[in-house]
C-alpha cells in the first residue's frame, strides 16, 4: 500500500474547453484540500479550441487519483490524466538577464552557452538575455554560474510535460473508459488521518 500513499511528484494533464473561470474551478479542487500547486502551465493544445493544463503537485497517488476524478467531473473538462515523473518527458524554460558589459568582459560567453546548452535571445548594449531549457537542476545551475556576474533578472516557466506512453489525445478523446478498480479492499489512510470522524 505504501506505493499508493507515499508522496511524490505527479504531473497532471488536463484537456479542457477554453472557458473563462475554468482555471478557478480547477484551482479550487486543490485549494479545498489544502494542496499546494508546485507548477501550473496552461496553453492552447494542438486541437483547435481545446486547452491543455500541466499541473505539478507532490502528493500520494491515492489522493492524486481522487483529484483527477474531481477535475474530470467539471463540465468543461474533457480528460484528465496523472503521471509520475518517470512516465513523462518534462522541461522548464528559463530566461536570464545580465549586464552585457560585465558578461562580455569576464567570461567566455561562447563556452558558457555551450556548456549549459543555453542560447542568447537578446544582445543589447546594456543587457543580454540568455535562455535555457531543462530540468530544475539544469536551469538552477546556470543561475549559480551567472550570479557572480550580476544576474539582473531571472524567470522560469512552469513545467510542460509530454506523456511517454500516450497515443495522443485525439484517440483518447473518444475513449472514456475508467481506471481499473483496485483488487483488494483496502483502507483509506488519507481520509482516516483524523480520529474524529464525526464533527459538529
Amino acid at each position: 500500500m505504501t506505493q499508493d500513499t507515499e508522496k511524490q511528484e505527479f504531473n497532471i494533464t488536463v484537456y479542457t474547453e477554453n472557458q473563462i473561470g475554468l482555471l478557478n474551478r480547477i484551482a479550487i479542487i486543490f485549494t479545498r484540500r489544502k494542496i499546494n500547486i508546485d507548477s501550473l502551465n496552461t496553453s492552447p493544445s494542438e486541437i483547435e479550441s481545446i486547452h491543455r493544463f500541466n499541473i505539478v503537485i507532490t502528493e500520494s497517488e491515492d489522493v492524486v487519483r481522487k483529484l483527477t476524478r474531481q477535475i474530470e467531473k467539471q463540465v468543461e473538462v474533457l480528460k484528465c490524466y496523472y503521471h509520475t515523473n518517470e512516465d513523462v518527458i518534462w522541461q522548464e524554460m528559463a530566461l536570464y538577464k545580465v549586464s552585457t558589459d560585465v558578461i562580455a568582459e569576464k567570461v567566455s560567453v561562447e563556452r558558457l552557452l555551450r556548456e549549459n546548452g543555453a542560447r542568447a535571445v537578446v544582445i543589447r548594449k546594456d543587457y543580454t538575455v540568455f535562455e535555457t531549457t531543462g530540468h530544475r537542476e539544469e536551469t538552477d545551475n546556470l543561475i549559480s554560474i551567472l550570479q557572480p556576474y550580476g544576474l539582473i533578472e531571472f524567470v522560469r516557466s512552469a513545467r510542460v510535460a509530454i506523456i511517454k506512453d500516450s497515443d495522443g489525445f485525439n484517440r483518447k478523446l473518444r475513449e472514456f473508459e475508467r481506471l481499473e478498480p483496485g483488487e483488494d479492499v483496502i483502507e483509506n489512510e488519507y481520509l482516516n488521518q483524523g480520529q474524529k470522524v464525526f464533527t459538529m
Partner: protein, 579 residues
C-alpha cells in the same frame, strides 16, 4: 404580442426571426423547458426580467418569497418532490449572496436547480458598482456549473446548457448571472433548441458488462450480502428497478437519510436506516456482511463512522453514476459505473433468485433489541411529557405513510427520518449533506408546489423555525397548503445532546427562547394550536390535517431527550450505542 409569443414558443429554430430582449428570451426558454413555477425576489439588477415576467403571468407562476434563501430552499423542495428542475430568481449582490447556502445544500444533495441572478451592467463589472458582487467566483465551489451572460445573444444557448447540466448525470445546481444590459438588449431571436450534448461533458459513464458480470458473481457467492441504498435510486427514477433487484436477490437493504422512501418503509427486505442515528442492526451488521452492495450512495462520514473500521471484511460492489464517488471513501472491489436505472436491470438479470432467511433474521434480532431498549420508549412513552417519536408515530397513523415529510435539521430530523413511514418515493425532503437549519419551512412550500395533490407536513425544531419563519409570509400570500409541526424542546436540541454526551453537560448557549409561535402564525393569518398534553395529540393532528389550507401545530416535547441509537464520535458503526 400574442403572435410573437406563438413564434417564440416553438421549440425548434424557426425561419421567422423576431427581435426580442434578453429577458423575453430567458422566459421563453423557461417555458420550453417545462418550467411552471419560479421562486424569487426582485431587485434593481433583475428588474428587466421581472418586467418581462409581468406579461407571462398566465404561463409562469412566480412565488414571491421573503428572503432569497427561502427562495432557493423552496426551489429545492420543488425539485425534490416533482423530479423537475427548480428555478430561482434573485437580484445582484445581496440577493445573489443570499443564495449561497441553498446552492451548497443543493450541490451536496444533488438537487437540480437553475438559479438566475441579475448583475450590474457589463461595463460596470469589476468597478465595485452598486450591488455588484463577484457572484461567479463566490458560487463556483457550490455549483455544478455557472456562467455569466453579458450579451443577450448568448441567452438561449446558455439557458439550454444550464437545464441540461442541472438535470443530467448526477444532478446539481447551476447559476446563470445575467448583466442588466443583456436583459434589456434586443437581439434577433431564432428560437430555442434544448441542449442534449456538450462535448466536454459526459453525464453518464459507459456501462461495462464485465463489471456487471463480476458484481453478479460476487453477489451470487455471498452468504451475507447487504444492500445500502441512497438518493441515487430516486434521482435515477430507478425505484422499480431497485425493488425488482432487491426482491429477486432477497438481500436485506438499508437506506441513507436521502434514500428513504425509495422502497416503502414496511417492505420486508427494508431493514432500516444507516449511519449515526440509524438503526442498530444495519450498522452492526455492516461489519459482518461479506458483500456490501452500495447503490447511489456516497459513503458519507455520517454513514460510515470511522472509515478504517468500516466493513473491512466485505467485498464492496459500488453502483454510482459519478465516477468521482467510486473509491472516494470506501475502496470498491467491483465498481459499477453508470446510471442505476440502466445498471440495475442488467445486474438483476444475472443474480440468482434467493432468500437469505437466516441472515435476514439477524437484522430482525437486532431490531427486537432496539425496539425494547429505544423504540418502545420513544414511541410509547410512559413519561408525562411527550416525545418527538410519538408525534411522528401518530402522524403516521393518520397520514398512513402517504404524506411528504419535510424536515429541518436537528434531533427532530433524525427522529422523523427514523420513524416516519414512507409508502412512496420522493416523500422525504430534508437537508442531508449540508444539514441546513432553516431549510424546512421554505422547502415545504416548494415541495407543495412540486406535489400539489399530496399532503405536505413540515417538521421543524424551535431553533430552525426561527431561522426562516418569515416564509410564513410566502404561505400567506401564495395561499399554499403546508402543515407545520414545531417540535419544541426549548433547546437547540441536537447540540445540547452532544454537550450532554461529550462536554459533560456544559449547556453553552443552547437554551433558546421562542416567541408565541401560534400568535406569530396568526399574524400571517395562518391558524394554529399549541399542545403539551398527550391526550390532545390525535385531535390536534387531525385538526391540522383536515384544515383547509396551512396550519401550525406546536407540540411541547420533553426538554432533554436524546436521539438513540448513536454512533459516537470517532467510533465504528458496529460500536453503535443504544443509550
Amino acid at each position: 404580442m400574442e403572435a410573437i409569443q406563438e413564434v417564440l414558443t416553438e421549440t425548434k429554430p424557426t425561419e421567422t426571426i423576431v427581435e426580442v430582449s434578453g429577458s423575453v428570451a430567458l422566459l421563453e426558454a423557461l417555458i420550453v423547458e417545462g418550467v411552471d413555477t419560479i421562486f424569487g425576489y426582485p431587485g434593481g439588477a433583475i428588474m428587466p426580467i421581472y418586467d418581462a415576467l409581468f406579461d407571462y403571468n398566465d404561463k409562469l407562476n412566480h412565488i414571491l418569497v421573503r428572503h432569497e434563501q427561502g427562495g432557493i430552499h423552496a426551489g429545492q423542495g420543488y425539485a425534490r418532490t416533482s423530479g423537475k428542475v427548480g428555478v430561482v430568481f434573485a437580484t445582484s449582490g445581496p440577493g445573489a449572496t443570499n443564495l449561497v447556502t441553498g446552492l451548497a445544500d443543493a450541490q451536496i444533495d444533488s438537487t437540480p436547480l437553475v438559479c438566475i441572478t441579475g448583475q450590474v451592467f457589463a461595463h460596470l463589472l469589476g468597478t465595485d458598482a452598486f450591488q455588484e458582487t463577484d457572484v461567479i467566483n463566490i458560487t463556483t465551489p457550490v455549483t455544478k456549473w455557472n456562467y455569466q451572460v453579458t450579451d443577450a445573444n448568448e441567452i438561449p444557448e446558455v439557458i439550454a446548457k444550464a437545464f441540461y447540466i442541472a438535470k443530467s448525470g448526477r444532478p446539481g445546481p447551476v447559476l446563470i448571472d445575467i448583466t442588466k444590459n443583456a436583459q434589456i438588449q434586443l437581439f434577433n431571436y431564432k428560437g430555442y433548441t434544448p441542449c442534449n450534448h456538450i462535448r466536454s461533458y459526459r453525464p453518464k459513464p459507459i456501462v461495462r458488462p464485465q463489471y456487471i458480470q463480476e458484481a453478479a458473481a460476487l453477489i451470487n457467492q455471498a452468504k451475507k450480502p447487504f444492500i445500502l441504498f441512497g438518493q441515487g435510486v430516486i434521482l435515477g427514477s430507478a425505484e422499480q428497478e431497485f425493488k425488482t433487484f432487491v426482491e429477486k436477490s432477497g438481500i436485506p437493504a438499508a437506506w441513507t437519510v436521502l434514500g428513504a422512501g425509495a422502497i416503502p418503509t414496511d417492505h420486508p427486505l427494508n431493514v432500516g436506516m444507516l449511519g449515526m442515528h440509524g438503526n442498530y442492526g444495519p450498522n452492526v451488521l455492516t461489519n459482518e456482511c461479506d458483500v456490501l452492495i452500495a447503490i447511489g450512495m456516497r459513503f458519507d462520514d455520517r454513514v460510515t463512522g470511522r472509515l478504517d473500521k468500516y466493513a473491512k471484511q466485505a467485498k464492496v460492489v459500488h453502483l454510482d453514476i459519478d465516477p468521482a464517488e467510486i473509491d472516494k471513501n470506501v475502496k470498491s472491489t467491483v465498481p459499477v459505473w453508470g446510471d442505476c436505472k440502466e445498471t440495475l436491470p442488467l445486474l438483476t438479470a444475472l443474480v440468482d433468485e434467493k432468500q437469505h432467511t437466516e441472515w435476514l433474521a439477524k437484522f430482525n434480532d437486532y431490531t427486537r433489541q432496539e425496539v425494547e431498549q429505544v423504540i418502545e420508549k420513544e414511541l410509547n412513552p410512559t413519561t408525562a411529557e411527550m416525545t418527538m417519536g410519538e408525534v411522528i408515530k401518530q402522524l403516521n397513523e393518520i397520514t398512513k405513510g402517504e404524506a411528504v415529510i419535510v424536515t429541518d435539521v436537528g434531533q427532530h430530523q433524525m427522529v422523523a427520518c427514523r420513524y416516519a413511514q414512507f409508502n412512496n418515493t420522493r416523500s422525504n425532503v430534508t437537508s442531508g449533506g449540508l444539514g441546513t437549519m432553516g431549510f424546512a419551512l421554505p422547502a415545504a412550500i416548494g415541495a407543495k408546489f412540486g406535489a400539489q395533490d399530496r399532503t405536505v407536513v413540515a417538521i421543524i425544531g424551535d431553533g430552525g423555525f426561527q431561522m426562516t419563519c418569515q416564509e410564513l409570509g410566502t404561505i400567506m400570500q401564495s395561499g399554499i397548503d403546508v402543515k407545520i409541526i414545531i417540535l419544541n424542546n426549548r433547546f437547540l436540541g441536537m447540540v445540547r445532546q452532544w454537550q450532554e454526551l461529550f462536554n459533560s453537560r456544559r449547556y453553552s448557549f443552547v437554551d433558546i427562547q421562542s416567541p408565541d409561535f401560534v400568535a406569530l402564525a396568526a399574524a400571517y393569518r395562518i391558524p394554529g394550536k399549541v399542545i403539551d398534553d398527550r391526550k390532545d395529540l390525535p385531535s390536534a393532528l387531525n385538526e391540522m390535517l383536515s384544515n383547509k389550507g396551512s396550519f401550525l401545530l406546536e407540540v411541547m416535547v420533553t426538554k432533554e431527550n436524546n436521539v438513540f441509537p448513536m454512533v459516537p464520535q470517532g467510533c465504528s458503526v458496529s460500536e453503535i450505542r443504544l443509550k
